[in-house]
Amino acid sequence: TRYSLPGKPALTRCRSPEKETFTCWWEPGSDGGLPTTYALYYRKENSETVYECPDYHTAGKNSCFFNKNDTSIWVNYNITVVASNALGSTFSDPVDIDVVYIVKPNPPEKVAVTVMEDKGWPFLRVSWEPPHKADTRSGWITLIYELRVKLEGENEWEMHLAGQQKMFNIFSLRSGGRYLVQVRCKPDHGFWSEWSSASHIKVPDYFHRE
């Protein structure tokens, strides 16, 4: 068998759930037929000191986790991943990241949906809490929310932007309809979270078919 240097790894993604810690993931290249190890190194803007990843375990395989003490904002991290085997090492392209631009929160929590009534017309009141990790109370993170609603069995979701509120009313419901509701959130300057798990609700039959 022919052995070769390891293939070029690639830093694929860095994300912070709350602008206090962050994680980077990489994609290994080909291993060149030899046992290959991976290391992540970083340098902070305007500093020549090179550090190694502080924690390869917390975030699982091919990842590096930076806890609160290792995380600064408003400073660029220049990050490189190195694949090494017996024949030598191969460097990934370096990536520059500032933690403030990679915030992707966890989904909203405690999503609750209740059927309410207004002058004989039912509507859904959806309420939720911000993901507990994100400190919105101090203003460190400002979240906006979006909901989507659909009838069970249908494909098309109805999207609703809820702004910074933690409650939203959904009107004009189908009599007897079974609805699915999900909520997600986004920091003022960052990425949308995943959708919360679906909440199911049945609207009573209110429509008296003459």
């Binding site: 305007n46 600064s72 408003w74 109370r137 101090s138 003022d188 300057h189």
Partner: protein, 197 residues
């Protein structure tokens, strides 16, 4: 002509809410501008070229994580935000004049956004001046951060684009700092309206 009634004042929490809305818009604009610039001027080109020195505001000591930021007093947070905003009055003029002759396919749209940046900056500055008047003498202090980069961003096309891009990246970062400080202030002022934060 004597106006009878004393004039009710806009509450500080309202002012901070409005200021945060503008600083949010200011930073979003700078992000849009950065993307527009990058779309035709790939970062790779910039990697090879030497990166200009530090931002002209980098001498200002600002917190660089949540713990530090939440320990800063209200007046100091406002003073930091005002100092940063004022530090950009002159460089925004340079960006504005350079944008008119920027060798970039999206030059016109970039020029319009820079102008919008200037308007928002000025409007936010007016608001922060009024706010600092209501938050005591400590909030009035400001650090001087002179811009010594001159009016000319370079003769040849590449260095002009690089210097424009670098100045914009500094503004983007500083506008994020301003936005963050004002949003922390806003939530501190909103203690009576917990649903606000």
């Amino acid at each position: 002509l004597y106006m009878v009634a004393a004039c009710k004042a806009v509450p500080i929490s309202d002012l901070l809410d409005r200021a945060s809305q503008r600083s949010d818009r200011l930073h979003s604009l700078s992000t849009m501008l950065t993307r527009e610039l990058d779309s035709h001027f790939p970062p790779i080109g910039r990697m090879i070229m030497p990166r200009p020195a530090m931002c002209h505001t980098s001498s200002l000591q600002t917190p660089n994580d949540k713990e530090q930021a939440l320990q800063v007093s209200e007046s100091d947070l406002l003073s930091l935000a005002r100092s940063l905003l004022r530090a950009w009055v002159d460089p925004l003029l340079v960006l504005s004049s350079s944008a008119n002759t920027l060798p970039h396919p999206a030059q016109n749209s970039i020029s319009n956004k820079i102008q919008e940046l200037q308007e928002h900056s000025k409007n936010l500055g007016d608001g922060l001046n009024i706010l600092s008047g209501k938050m005591g003498p400590a909030a009035q202090t400001m650090s001087l951060l002179p811009y010594r980069g001159g009016n000319d961003l370079g003769q040849d096309k590449i260095s002009k684009l690089i210097n424009f891009q670098f100045l914009l990246s500094c503004f983007r970062r500083d506008s994020h700092k301003i936005d963050s400080f004002l949003k922390v202030l806003r939530c501190r002022a909103a203690k009576m309206q917990p649903e606000m934060c």
